[in-house]
Amino acid sequence: MSAFEYEPQERLLKALAEQLKIPLLQIARQSELAAIDPSVSFRSVGLTADMAIRLIDSYILGLQVQGQPALELEPVSVASMLQDVAHQLTPFAKQHELTLEVSLSGRYEPVMAQKAHLEAAYMALGHSMIEAQSGEGQSNVLLAAHRSAYGIVAGVFGASDTISADVYRRARALYGRARQSAPGMSAQTTAGVFIADSLLQSMQAPLRIAHHHKMSGLAATLQPSNQLQLI
């Protein structure tokens, strides 16, 4: 089947399959090395496997969401959610020789969202962005939120300037079709971005290009709950 003929879900599955090759490869080669050199640590293998499993879980969650008529929403603290995600992603970032930071300016009202989906989306997004930034020789990744006229913009940002609105639009058309849908977003890093997008779209908050101070990245605009503001 030519790459032009895949349906969107098939393309996402193909992108996921490509992205999972890397952690499995890492596990296989590290195991091979450890069999020859007993001093080799297995810690990174465990971490790699954990992140891969999370990515699969995020993908499955995304599929499940598509079948549901409406999500049960709850008040979610964006700041806490980003801190939790950062905590979980930090060892992975370190493995890629990156520093992961959180930037939250001010206090934010809770947003009405599905907490597990939101967290899964940012984990998947963070996973992909860390791998993409690492491949570009960058040194840090930022989980950040700031206010805009439209809501709370929360996303993952890097120092690289290769991602722009044009690049992202093209990447959306190309993922699952081209081996490298955007500079820095190879077949092995794309799936997480689009899994995150799929989850966030179910909360009417699709990913788009955003900027935080001098960094560019991908973010969703989340709506604060007006009801909770009155409490």
Binding site: S2, F4, R170, A173, L174, R177, A178, R179, Q180, S181, A182, P183
Partner: protein, 231 residues
């Protein structure tokens, strides 16, 4: 005092020249192919896209030289076919196209070659049209421009090519010969005609069924090119 010349150009090749310089072959619409020396760009920061990207149309300023080489004064990118390098095969095809154009313009290079190259790179940059179709269009255009276009109107007996018939290709006659069970039919011939007649390879993406016969047609076109043009 020599007058600087300002024009647009597409870089065909780069190679080393003495210790610190690079020799660039640049195809322009109005000055043919020029060989220019880019002085002092051979050392680290300038190597590999040190401001002179391949697969791009550039504004260039150069000083004509006494001998074979001009001196490059400055370049500025006008447009960049950046998607090409997101796919390995398109990248390789891009280099092949540059190489063929470089060879074919050894002796003379009119504006038509610049336009052909620019359109081909534009086609490779568009993932909605398959690389195969872009290569087919490029090959058919080269055959036409070098006076080696096959006869796509009548067969080797002088009869009109018929929709229901099967054909072989006669390389000596440069036309199709009716043959029961032959590999080529109406769709192959139609696609060749389109490759020949379309102003731009991106036109071919709208042709239904083009991808199905593209491989066979491309192979034939490339064989004709190899036999008669040798680039």
């Amino acid at each position: 005092m020599k007058t600087q010349i300002i024009t647009t150009g597409i870089i065909l090749s780069r190679k080393d020249f003495q210790e610190a310089d690079r020799l660039l072959s640049i195809l322009t619409p109005d000055h043919g192919k020029i060989k220019t020396i880019a002085k002092g760009v051979r050392r680290p920061n300038s190597k590999l896209a040190g401001g002179i990207e391949l697969f791009s149309v550039n504004h260039i300023t150069f000083l004509p030289g006494r001998g074979d080489f001009a001196t490059l004064v400055s370049t500025r990118m006008e447009s960049h076919f950046g998607s090409i390098v997101q796919d390995i095969n398109r990248t390789m095809l891009g280099y092949e196209v540059l190489k063929r154009i470089n060879r074919i313009t050894e002796d003379a290079a009119g504006e038509e070659y610049f336009n052909l190259l620019r359109a081909t790179l534009g086609g490779l940059d568009d993932f909605d049209v398959s690389a195969e179709l872009v290569e087919l269009w490029f090959t058919m255009q080269l055959l036409f421009m070098t006076g080696h276009a096959p006869n796509l109107k009548t067969d080797s007996e002088g009869n009109r090519l018929m929709p229901g018939e099967a054909y072989l290709f006669d390389f000596d006659e440069m036309s199709f010969r009716q043959q029961q069970g032959g590999p080529y039919g109406a769709n192959h011939i139609k696609l060749m005609r389109l490759g020949y007649g379309a102003d731009d390879p991106t036109v071919l993406k709208h042709v239904t069924g083009a991808n199905e016969v593209a491989a066979g047609v491309l192979k034939l076109a490339k064989n004709i090119l190899k036999l008669h043009v040798r680039v």
